[in-house]
Amino acid sequence: MRDLDAGFAALADPTRRAILARLASGEATVMELAKPFAMSQPAVSRHIKVLEDAGLVVRRAEGTRRHLSIAPQAIDDLDRWLISLRDTLARNYQRLDQLLATMDDEGKEET
């Protein structure tokens, strides 16, 4: 069974989304990625590790430097479809929560 939760958990953090947004415009080193953030390089490295573990980011070593980039297959066709399905369902179910709140146990709408 494949689980998208790691990917979603990785995306649920604004710093990690910002890192991905930066990498979307091209590969970067850890130091370059850390620059815009008001946090230590080890802290940024931990965020990068989460993104790597989720398969969203890959690294390439060049001497002592590590270049990071978005995994080419990070968001493939299946994931895009599943994300859009999840998005649609999440919205629909929020509306359903509201509708159910107006219904009694029999499923009739209360006036």
Binding site: W81, L82, D87, L89, N92, L99, G107
Partner: protein, 161 residues
């Protein structure tokens, strides 16, 4: 209590679960009665479902038509295969975008859990061509907007809610 989970099973199935703060009867009716379905099965913001037919009995018809009010529209047809009030339905559906997607076989279970309901929906994954078609048409034309909304929702914790 109401977190949505979505997992793939093998190469051909998706299993969705969601908890609701209402008894199975109410959740079941909201999924099978046209007048109720029209109130929430709407997808992205701005879409409505002006036409909805649902005959929850074996062989009964399903037809839903959506529009964004700006010329965008698509519809879905289907048939119920099994209906066990208020615990389970099995139906097939296909979307017309306008070409039909392959039949999607969906089993939906409504299980009492405490004061609420655990919904489990097991559906068949469309093949790659069908997904590409669904992603490139109508409802999904604003993928970027979808991602932005997903981020908003993640930011505000709604996706986990």
């Amino acid at each position: 209590m109401s977190r949505l989970t979505l997992k793939t099973e093998g190469d051909t199935h998706v299993v969705v679960t969601r908890r609701f703060a209402a008894l199975p009867k109410a959740v079941f009716r909201a999924h099978t009665e046209a007048g109720l379905m029209q109130k929430w099965m709407l997808g992205p913001e701005g879409w409505t479902m002006p036409v909805c037919i649902s005959e929850p009995k074996p062989g009964g018809k399903i037809r839903c038509e959506w529009t964004d009010g700006k010329g965008g529209d698509f519809h879905l047809t289907g048939e119920y295969i099994a209906v066990e009030p208020y615990s389970r339905t099995v139906h097939v559906e296909r979307m017309f975008l306008p070409d039909p997607t392959p039949d999607n076989h969906v089993e939906t279970r409504f299980q009492a859990e405490g004061d609420g309901t655990l919904l489990t929906m097991r559906m068949t994954l469309p093949n790659a061509d069908a997904r590409a078609m669904m992603l490139s048409t109508g409802m999904e034309e604003g993928m970027e907007a979808s991602y932005a909304r997903m981020e908003e929702m993640m930011g505000s914790g709604q996706l986990a809610a």
